[in-house]
Symmetry: C2
Subunit: 514 residues, 2 copies
């Protein structure tokens, strides 16, 4: 057994089932080892951002890490943007990066670069394997590091001689770090804060947005009448019939501050104290209105579930609450395609148990409200703001959940970053339906230009925010990678095509001409 085989067998023994890969010469022994080990699925992405985004989506839906297999510094660099999103989502991911043989490092060969410096900004754990003999143990520790609460990126750099040199046996799984318990004081403070009734708000993120978390949250709200607010870009939230309806913290700072102004106290449960997505002149960084108190029940690194349960106990919340279990959908929209009709159409047809990956940007906003009592579904957002997450993340979610329908609700500008994901969807015949919102622009940037005072942009500013001249033909683009699809111009045909696509196994695209 060589180092590569000991590594892959260790990962398989630790329960890692998928490797999203775009390997090169320095990873050939690992590629060969994938065949030697049973139980590890290899999924090829034709660009590394597809692999890392897929690993994020897989982790969000399965709760466990996938491997990525990437080629030296430049190959890893192509995956950084979606690892940035995964880091913000607190997704466990284990990156394997092949590197030059240890004895070849000094040659500074063309592909050599400082991988540690590239990896540090997105990785909670980094190590270079020093010898084939330690590759197995290093892998076990990388997997344990990735899975440590609340989930992080672990990056293991594997020089090629540490892959091909002889090794001993695979390593046993390493123990995961335990959760940090929330202290009684925090629970007591939160309980007091919730005495304010609708003057208190629970700001929810991470595990508070899971099915178990939200069932406790619903009990707390039934007792206290507190407001339930979902962080703006949740990694994953369970929504629809049977789940409590949540407000969503608005994106623009002035709107977020307005939404929070009626509160006296904001209780954080799995969410950070809210900050503006961007700084604007004369606007604050913090979205907490002046004079309001913030109580951290469970921040990053704490066990939000246990904290919420302790809180429910402390306030004497009811053992259970019954929420409407029957879904209600908006009616079929008609007329022009716009954010409202698109959101209504998706809410009208979303199948039970669907997964919605929302990178629809400006077009996506109305869907959240329209679908709050739709059939049960999981909703995934763009956590880190690094665009190009949607199609890869949807791909990984579909790998994790082959029996569920995944809807990639996708803007055009961000979609262009990583459209190579279509090919992987086609090869793996994943149940992903892409709703591609083609508005021929980076619409958000046009909004931001106007916010910056540029209400009549000049020729160059216009050219940098428009995706026209030429228009992109998304149906053709997806077809070139094996994805069938149609283009729709109004809401009626969108409804018809949605109904058909959602009932058809395998991937497809509906291009919405906005």
């Amino acid at each position: 057994m060589n180092g590569a085989e000991s590594l892959i067998r260790t990962a398989a023994a630790a329960g890692v089932e998928v490797c999203f890969a775009n390997p090169g010469t320095t990873e050939m022994p690992l590629v060969a080892a994938l065949d030697a080990a049973d139980g590890m699925r290899a999924v090829l992405g034709l660009f590394e951002g597809v692999c890392t985004g897929a690993a994020d989506g897989y982790a969000r839906m399965s709760g466990k890490p996938a491997l990525t297999l990437l080629h030296l510094g430049p190959g890893f660099a192509n995956g950084i943007a979606n690892l940035h999103n995964a880091r913000r989502a607190r997704s466990p991911v284990v990156n394997l990066i092949g590197d030059h043989a240890t004895w070849h490092a000094a040659a500074d060969a063309p592909l050599a670069s400082d991988i540690h410096s590239l990896a540090r900004p997105v990785s909670g754990w980094i190590r270079s394997v020093q010898s084939a003999k330690t590759a197995a143990r290093d892998t076990a520790e990388a997997i344990a590091a990735a899975g440590a609460f609340p989930g992080q990126i672990a990056t293991l750099i594997v020089p090629s001689d540490c892959q091909w040199d002889p090794a001993d046996a695979p390593a046993r799984p390493a123990p995961l770090a335990g959760l940090a318990k929330v202290g009684d004081a925090a629970v007591k403070q939160a309980a007091e804060a919730l005495g304010a009734g609708p003057g208190a708000g629970l700001l929810l993120g991470a595990a508070a947005l899971s099915e178990r978390g939200l069932s406790v949250v619903a009990r707390i709200a039934a007792k206290t009448q507190c407001r339930l607010i979902c962080e703006t870009f949740p990694a994953r939230v369970e929504r629809g019939a049977g789940m409590p309806a949540l407000e969503r913290l608005p994106y623009f700072p002035e709107q977020a501050i307005e939404a929070l102004t009626p509160l006296q106290t904001i209780v954080l449960a799995g969410a950070r104290s809210p900050v503006a997505f961007f700084g604007y002149p004369k606007m604050p960084s913090s979205l907490v209105p002046e004079g309001r108190k913030v109580v951290a029940l469970a921040e990053h690194g704490n066990d939000a579930l246990a904290a919420l349960e302790a809180l429910a106990e402390a306030i004497g919340a009811p053992r259970a609450v019954s929420l409407p279990a029957k879904a209600t959908r908006p009616g079929r929209p008609s007329g022009k395609l716009n954010a409202a009709t698109v959101g209504a159409a998706l809410a009208a047809f979303i199948p039970e148990n669907a997964i919605v990956m929302d990178e629809a940007a400006t077009t996506g906003l109305p869907f959240f409200a329209a679908s709050s009592n739709a059939p049960r579904h999981s909703y995934l957002a763009l956590t880190g703001g690094a665009i190009g997450q949607g199609l890869p993340c949807a791909t990984g979610a579909a790998v994790a959940c082959p029996d569920r329908r995944v809807i990639a609700f996708q803007a055009d500008g961000s979609g262009m970053y990583t459209q190579q994901a279509f090919w992987t969807q086609a090869r793996e015949q994943l149940n992903v339906t892409t709703l591609l919102c083609n508005n021929h622009s980076y619409r958000i940037l046009q909004v931001e230009l106007a916010r910056a005072g540029v209400t009549e942009p000049g020729r160059k500013a216009k050219s940098l925010t428009e995706l026209s001249n030429p228009d992109i033909d998304w149906t053709r683009l997806a077809r070139s990678m094996g994805i069938p699809g149609v283009r729709v111009e109004e809401a009626e045909s969108l409804c018809k095509e949605l109904e058909r696509a959602l009932a058809t196994p395998g991937p497809s695209i509906i291009e919405l001409m906005l």
Copy 2:
């Protein structure tokens, strides 16, 4: 005038003419400033790797830096792979990266990350602007740093408040650092080494491969009969009629060592002492055969042109040599498409003064020999091994040289990384003819697997090296972004279509079914 305008006006005054951009919210004042300043062309890329690769191609052909305009850490990260190639090509590039307002940094907003750590591996110079008042001077120094011999990447991080706050005037250009002169001892050593006649070889890179460099090299070879060897992946070499014919150092180490074995001495002129692209078991890092002497006439950082001229003087080379000025082309190939017929077809039809960007990988090899006495052309190679360079680099070369025909000689696997470049070619109506070599595989990896002893790859290893199931339809893909094209199945139709495409203004694609 705000900081952004002072910055852009400073760059324009320093002679920077193009900005390859994919901006976001933190760059809006810079976007507006592009309109305020005359003489700065803004070219949108729909993925940052397109922008950075284009800046590299632009620099290789114009000899001067373009700006890139990128969005925070993740946007920059998407451009790293092609900056890695640009660094290895010693191309001057100035990256402008917008960042959160200085007072918003502490909020650790979703898009925040350690940009310095990401930038360091590819940048020779990095700075964060501290105030709008210094933005102009920082820009002048960044441009001077990029242009300092032999060219490097300068990265300027510009917080958004340093863009929108008031500034004074633009700054004057900063002085460039001078070239390091080559000492007399190095020239004398090289002159002695060349006494060995064909037992000596000049290994050429960088400025030694320019028109001026090669005309001196031809004089030296006429006097000494030394072998003229081009580094394996030159940033740019002038080739064809009127230029001396060069051997190319082979890619695989055993072949390179064999090629160098007849030499007693290797004289480096603009090239590094040769090393293996990858380390292989039981193969050395250095490609210099044992016992051979290496003489560094001019390494990285030295003035190879002046050194070659001093060398020509020292050995009493003739003032001029006449090389065949009339081009000779191979005949039109016929029959099956393969590396040999494709290389012959391109050499048979390459127009005078063309620019060939070769990322054709395994299919590209025979072209170099077939075209050695073709009409004069510039040849650009994949310098850093980070695939996805070809289409962006061709795009930038065409922006730099609107009167020349650019041929993107492109493999399919690497082409998929950054095919968004097609859109920019279509929008700017650039004279780029893409020859897309569709062999449905990462063929080089299949070769490398075999070299690693895996002659019968298993199911997973096969699946990770094949681009089939589904096949990619490149003609359709390019058409979706506004590029017309055709698919050819044999050499006769390739010749016909090449002849037609090369005579037609604007971009197009020919998909070669190998």
